[in-house]
């Protein structure tokens, strides 16, 4: 049976921060549980009913005590709230520079697409010491990507892109679970995250990926679907120029300001008339059912790669 751990491995920069709050909460729990249990046992013994017609003293309460035991717990919970919220901010805010990996969940497997073109199923290779962002979506029902050793988890929701980020601190192999019930083989929707030293990771990267980069696959799909007849590099096309568009803010016909992010690109492919850029006609047909979730991710990555070349970008914004 092997060893029986009682505490999970800590293998990300977030893990010690979550654990610290966890230990504080255990302290609070143990203190109050022992206080209550101790008082109950003490009073039960000390004031044990000694005759059948004994009655208790007529004590109705104490405003002073009521205020104390309302305010003190309230203050303690506010400490926990602020602490929990600040760590949560860190969990919910990926750093600016991340190594991006796309994730598609489906009943009952995890599919990973690396930018260089490697594809994996139920196994995810990442380098140690780098900020990794998983951009996740689902093909069917809600799943949840959970890596206990990293203390991160997020629902993987069909029709949405949810980001999960971590920075692994220890090379090794860690459990990857689906944590949202998703049907028959839910408990089989598991895998491993393989954290590797940077050099090993580079070796691993160069070992696979004969299909070319994800953006290249997207470019091919872009041509196959004839997107390029309207979305042309020059402004002569019937659709907006996509070069340099990703990350910009555009104005729709309704006058709404929209940031061009993964979700907007996805929506514009599947439901083009929802948010048409001002100055263009709603003539684009829907591609609902024509592009797989993976295909959408390839197209998104292709759009991301279309950065305006001449414009000098600060080096740090390379990706």
């Amino acid at each position: 049976m092997g060893t029986t751990p009682l505490f999970p491995v800590s293998a990300s920069t977030m893990a010690p921060r979550v654990d610290a709050l966890y230990f504080f909460l255990i302290g609070v729990t143990v203190f109050f549980s022992l206080l209550i249990a101790g008082l109950i046992v003490y009073y039960a013994v000390k004031y044990h009913r000694r005759s059948t017609d004994a009655v208790g003293e007529r004590i109705h309460g104490s405003l002073w005590l009521e205020v104390t035991w309302s305010v003190v717990p309230f203050l303690i919970t506010m400490v926990i709230f602020v602490w929990g919220a600040s760590v949560y901010f860190a969990i919910a805010s990926p750093p600016a520079e991340t190594l991006n990996i796309y994730v598609v969940g489906k009943q009952w497997m995890w599919k990973f697409q690396h930018l260089d073109g490697q594809r994996e199923i139920n196994e995810l290779h990442v380098p140690v010491g780098r900020n990794v962002k998983l951009i996740t979506t689902s093909e069917d029902v809600i799943h949840d990507l959970f890596v206990p050793a990293f203390r991160v988890k997020a629902d993987v929701i069909p029709g949405r892109y949810v980001n999960i980020w971590f920075n692994a601190t220890k090379p090794g192999r860690y459990h990857l679970f689906c944590a949202e019930y998703c049907g028959t083989r839910h408990s089989g929707m598991i895998g491993e995250v393989v954290v590797m030293e940077e050099t090993e990771y580079q070796d691993w990267l160069s070992g696979g990926g004969q299909e070319g980069s994800l953006a290249a696959a997207g470019e091919k799909l872009f041509a196959d679907l004839a997107c390029n007849t309207c979305h042309r590099p020059d402004s002569a096309g019937r659709g907006p120029v996509l070069t340099g568009l990703f990350g910009q803010t555009v104005t729709t016909q309704a006058g709404e300001m929209v940031v061009v992010d993964e979700a907007y690109v996805r929506e514009s492919i599947l439901n083009p008339s929802a948010k048409v850029t001002a100055g263009y006609q709603p003539i684009m047909p829907t591609f609902q059912g024509l592009v797989s979730e993976e295909g959408l991710l390839e197209l998104i990555e292709y759009v991301k790669s279309l950065q305006a070349q001449p414009q000098a970008q600060p080096l740090s914004d390379a990706r």
Partner: protein
């Protein structure tokens, strides 16, 4: 001790035969109809739990298939939540006690009360049909789009069963609210009401306001599943997370539907067990209402990892901490009530001790889940399973059993075997902790809930939990035996075996059909033990 006899005329001997029960409008008989029904569903749900734990004794889950396992935990949850925990205390103890405690002859709408029971049974019949005709595998939470687009099991009959049963909750809640407003005996002012009445009142408010939301949600699920309306399935243009908002808008308050009546029972047990007024009566009473109101504002804490925006998460987090405060106030007040009391070690009080201890742990572990950063790690794991079983089983079922033992002499007119009762209370306490404490550890280790198979390193803790479940199962069976036995062979209890105050102890055991030989006039506050007031009619 002088020989006590049952009164010559009481609600149990006022008519025999099946019709006198199935057509009764007596709230006490209806309470017993519910008692039989919820006990049945409790043991059905419990059998599923034992089956689940047996299967989880090995990492590979060798006992049943994946499909069967998923149906087992779904039916366990559906049975326990909708057919036991939600109705148990209000429908059994509430039905029996609300009119008697306020000095009324019956509920405001006796026929409606009987109708509630039939509606409940009809809902139960649908759900049992869903069960025997193949089961359902969505989990009791029915998350979309799995429930509307993916599951091939009996989602509709099960959901329909829950839909129907909801009307029983609404009507019972309505009946209690009207009764408490309109039927109190002369002199029974609001602040003379037993705290069980306050908590039943708060529960009824939630039932009336919250249950329609789950009913509508179920209809939306059915419409999407049957007619492809795109409410929740993104492939049809819906939003899967919308379902979770609707579901938890009811189902979080439903947690308080399950636990508020339990708190009311414990207030009664502690007062009678200490022969003393409940410390801070008005704080305990208003804490119930505060919980009922705040309980409607915290549903989003079930969705911290479900694509909720950072700022909504913060709001739901802080509100969730705030709803913990009235519960903490209650725990402190119950404990303080023991100070300088005449403290009993009889069975009902043992259950009250168990409730306070386990509910404290359940409540404090709730703080882990309100703290968003920790919730991200432990949500959807066994930590959650452990937490809510401490509240539901350690809290609600402990209080329910404590209440059944406390009022059993009133309900049946007879005494049970105190030795066996204490023994089973001890077995339940030990079995409960052995079952659920290891699950906290498993949860933080990362074992997801609803897993049929799990990595081998989790086996030792799972075996401990399964061993505990078998002990717990035995603990629950013993009261069935001695309570049944007492019905025939138990000594007559007399009208007030505990030396408790409260109107229910002023009438005979069992009470007459009309509860009191003449309408009581109340001139004292609740829990007036000292100086002793003799107010037997």
């Amino acid at each position: 001790m002088p020989t006590v006899l049952l009164p010559p005329r009481h609600y149990l001997n006022n008519g025999y035969g099946i019709r006198s029960w199935l057509l009764t409008r007596d709230h006490k008989r209806i309470a017993l109809l519910y008692l039989a029904a919820v006990t049945f569903f409790f043991f059905v749900g419990g059998a599923f739990a034992v089956w689940i734990r047996l299967d989880l004794a090995t990492p590979a889950g060798d006992l049943v298939s994946d499909e069967t396992y998923n149906k087992l935990f779904t039916m366990h949850g559906v049975m326990m939540v909708f057919f036991f925990l939600i109705p148990a205390i209000p429908s059994v103890l509430g039905n029996f006690l609300v009119p008697i405690m306020i000095g009324a002859k019956d509920l405001a709408f006796p026929k409606l009360n009987l109708a509630s029971w039939y509606i409940y049974m009809l809902g139960g019949a649908f759900t049992l049909y869903a069960l025997v005709s193949g089961g359902v595998d969505t989990g009791w939470t029915f998350y979309t789009p799995f429930s509307t687009a993916s599951s091939t099991t009996n989602v509709i009959p099960t959901a329909l069963g829950i839909f129907i049963t909801g009307f029983s909750s609404i009507l019972t809640g309505l009946n209690f609210i009207v009764t408490i407003h309109r039927m109190r005996a002369p002199g029974m002012t609001w602040f003379r009401l037993p705290l069980f009445i306050w908590s039943t009142y708060a529960t009824s408010l939630i039932n009336v306001l919250g249950t329609p939301v789950i009913a509508i949600t179920i209809l939306l699920v059915a419409a999407e599943r049957l007619f492809q309306f795109g409410f929740f399935n993104p492939a049809l243009g819906g939003d899967p997370v919308l379902f979770q908002h609707l579901f938890w808008f009811y189902s979080h308050p439903a947690v308080y539907i399950m636990v508020l009546p339990a708190m009311g029972v414990v207030s009664e047990l502690v007062a009678a067990g200490c022969r003393k007024p409940v410390f801070g009566y008005s704080f305990v009473a208003f804490a119930s209402l505060a919980i009922a109101v705040l309980g409607f504002l915290v549903w989003g804490h079930h969705m911290f990892v479900a694509g909720e925006s950072v700022y909504s998460a913060l709001i739901f987090s802080i509100l969730s901490f705030m709803v913990a405060i009235p519960s903490a106030v209650k725990v402190f007040n119950w404990t303080a009530t023991m100070y300088r009391g005449a403290v009993s070690w009889e069975t009902p009080m043992l259950y009250a001790y168990g409730f306070i201890g386990l509910f404290t742990i359940g409540g404090l572990t709730g703080l882990f889940l309100a703290a968003i950063a920790v919730d991200v790690h432990v949500t959807d794991t066994y930590f959650i399973v452990a937490h809510f079983h401490y509240i539901m089983v350690g809290g609600t079922i402990m209080a329910y059993l404590g209440g059944v033992h406390y009022w059993w002499p009133k309900i049946s007119g007879r005494l049970y075997n105190e030795g066996l009762a204490k023994l089973s209370a001890g077995i339940i306490f030990i079995g409960f902790n052995l079952t659920f404490f290891p699950q906290f550890v498993l949860g933080y280790l990362g074992m997801p809930r609803r897993y049929h198979a799990y990595p081998e390193e989790f086996q030792v803790l799972n075996v401990l939990s399964s061993a505990g479940a078998s002990i717990l199962g035995v603990g629950y069976l013993i009261p069935m035996v001695y309570l049944m036995w007492s019905l025939r062979y138990g000594r007559a209890a007399g009208s007030n075996p505990w030396g408790a105050v409260g109107l229910e102890w002023t009438t005979t055991s069992p009470p007459p059909t009309e509860n009191f030989s003449q309408t009581p006039v109340v001139t004292w506050n609740a829990y007036e033990y000292s100086p002793k007031v003799d107010h037997v009619a």
